[in-house]
Point group: C2
Chain length 428, copies 2
């Protein structure tokens, strides 16, 4: 993948939301078309990113990391968009985080010079690809996670059969929680693995990693206790590895941080070691934020940080009211194919009546009660003055941006009047 | 979209599951690569379609429709794959069903000469696109649904401002159920709308449509009563429209049928009218079937039809065990981005231990208890002899093929040994 082509690819025709009659256009040509969502220039449903909120989020998050003295390697799995990766890097991100080799390739091709694969790598096909990526993108760094002797044995078996040997792979040791996902459950187990990594020609230990996000509750006291306990384990392991000279690097990476309680994590990404320490926060969802789950986490964070609203929801999916078959029920033309539904139903955010160009806030009582593959069920008060009509456009917010991004190959970037000022593509 | 390019497009590189080192290849060149999933030639996760089950399903469903004296217009939204559309048409499908104009364009470009948009069309952008598609693909027919005077008014407003007038749009009148999705709730309301359609220069009424699938239970007595009541309404409305000479066509289309209880629907797609009647079944999920919801519906159907297993699950997502962090828990590298989770968790179907080439059936006790974005939690008996290991490959079945297809841009078609014999692409 060449960087220019990746950042300025052809878009459409035939991609959902792309104007039916428009030819394929390079991303950089989209703004000049003068399209406006509310002028019906684009078919619905269409996912849009509000430019001003996006740019505000990029700036706020980078300033937050700087203030905390940590670096940012945003999780790219959220958007898998080279254009957004480039924007994150230009805003000052130290690197990109990804979930696997296919994603790493996109991140490196988009310009990342540091790539953290926040996952176990062990398959022969993936190890070969990683070695090839490191050669192609040298001197870019690509780091992945280890959490078991079984994984180490598979990597060594692959490494030993490849001549000439590739450069040893840089790895972070993963600390996990009981009942959780990946990661070593005990200090002893982790330290034993670190010793085996130190003895291996295939791997170099460059830091410690954990992920707190799965246990976040939004209750500050509980979340603080969670982070306190987990990060104590990370620091204790880093200290033990440092004492035993198990790190093979110039600086030790300590990495944690989903998108829910990163303000509690960031101050803990520090340790007094014999080597310099770099704290790396991996939050990904901040880039568009959302109207649901992350908005609630942010409310708790705002209270803790006393910073006002730090992040703003930038992602909306617009769709058409196609039928009002019963009083109080509007059927809207977007569904499971277009919108997140894994945490909760989409949240009506805006309403633009048929023929109008200025969107209103969606009335507070409107709720999406269910989704089918291609439809949403919007419930509204029968006796309310504010009832949607067939042909109206509804802007739906989502809860969990990741599971909306993966439903779109492109999204329009819009200004405050919903004029299309740019576009992004995704690589899922 | 040109048909040749649509059916034989370039695939990869950088699409998930595509071999990391492979260049872009046209679909028709994939088989010659000699790739095998179980030889680790392709990175995981990877979605595959088992060729023999797919071909069996295509044949069985077409034979079923022929036996019942109805035609098949499979819902293309399930797969949105031009290659599968072409296979369905070659197997004898009368046409394709789709959910919107973007999908209709793919279906017509893939070779459908009859396209049923099983949805309300009313936006100016969509009506213009429909008129253009009808010109481009003439004499192909494209039919959509109407269910309200408000929709009719919007179509007429668009029609009246376009000179020269396009051909009148062919429409089916949609009958709906109280508490349901779209569709006229009462006979009187539907008949009034049919009269207004008859009087409109913009529209021609060519049939009656309903969708029973949302209410199917898998309990034969309940489902039979549901279909009986709904199809009586459809036939009564068709008869009233025929009596009043509201149809403007040579034959009347009666269409229903999701993928759950189509055996109950098919015999009801008949009516004694003054015009010939064509029953059109729209089932879409039969093409790959599944390991969950549709398998349970099929069990009830098999009892009713006394036909043995008619359809077989053809869709699997293969992924790697990346960690066994606790006894009884394997973390598998596929998640919400790769697999259906809207009806139930994925179902372990096959197991190929690391280094082996012959897959085993997954032990009955294995369950996926949760998914994150990129991970599945596979639970297994701690004291069982059959425990997965790090590096093993797991073939996961899904419940609801639609919500797995939309997570992949391509899928490998494999033989019984998991050799890659073809590929399909999707257009979501």
């Amino acid at each position: 993948m060449e960087t220019d082509e990746l950042l300025d690819p052809p878009i459409g025709p035939g991609w959902k939301g792309w104007p039916h009659a428009a030819p394929a256009l390079h991303r950089s040509s989209v703004a000049a078309q003068g399209w406006n969502l509310l002028a019906d220039d684009l078919p619905l449903p269409l996912a849009v990113i509000r430019r001003d909120a996006l740019h505000g989020n990029l700036r706020w998050m980078q300033a937050f990391a700087r203030t905390q003295g940590v670096d940012l390697a945003p999780h790219g799995k959220t958007t898998m968009s080279p254009q957004l990766f480039a924007a994150q890097l230009q805003s000052g991100a130290w690197g990109m985080t990804v979930a696997n080799l296919t994603q790493a390739r996109v991140a490196l091709s988009a310009g990342a010079t540091r790539c953290l694969i926040a996952n176990q790598v062990l398959a022969a096909a993936d190890l070969a690809a990683l070695a090839a990526l490191r050669r192609r993108h040298a001197p870019a760094r690509t780091v992945f996670l280890v959490d078991s002797l079984a994984q180490l044995a598979l990597i060594e078996a692959w490494f030993d059969t490849h001549s000439p040997s590739p450069q040893p792979f840089e790895v972070l040791l993963e600390v996990g929680l009981d009942g959780g996902r990946t990661g070593c459950r005990s200090h002893e187990q982790a330290l034993q693995l670190a010793q085996r990594v130190r003895a291996s020609a295939a791997l170099q230990l460059v830091g410690i990693e954990c992920y707190e996000g799965l246990w976040a509750t939004g209750r500050s006291a509980d979340d603080a206790a969670l982070v306190e306990g987990l990060m104590q384990r990370v620091v204790a392991l880093a200290t033990a590895c440092d004492d035993a000279r198990l790190f093979e690097c110039d600086e030790v990476l300590l990495s944690a941080g989903g998108s829910s309680i990163f303000d509690l994590v960031a101050p803990r990404l520090k340790a007094a070691l014999s080597l310099p320490v770099r704290g790396v926060l991996r939050s990904g969802c901040y880039v568009t934020h959302d109207h649901g789950s992350y908005q609630r986490y942010m409310a708790a964070m705002n209270t803790r940080l006393a910073c006002g609203h730090g992040l703003h929801a930038a992602l909306e999916v617009w769709a058409l009211v196609q039928s009002i078959p019963e009083p109080g029920l509007a059927i809207v033309g977007a569904g499971k194919r277009d919108l997140s539904y894994d945490l909760e139903m989409p949240i009506p955010a805006r309403w633009c009546p048929c023929g109008q160009r200025v969107p209103l806030g969606a009335p507070a009582g409107w709720k999406v009660s269910a989704l089918n593959d291609q439809h949403a069920y919007l419930r509204f008060a029968v006796d309310g003055a504010q009832a949607p009509q067939v042909g109206d456009r509804i802007g739906l917010g989502v809860s969990h941006p990741c599971t909306t991004f993966d439903k779109w190959r492109w999204m329009a970037v819009v200004d405050e009047d919903y004029g299309v000022v740019d576009a992004i593509v995704t690589h899922f």
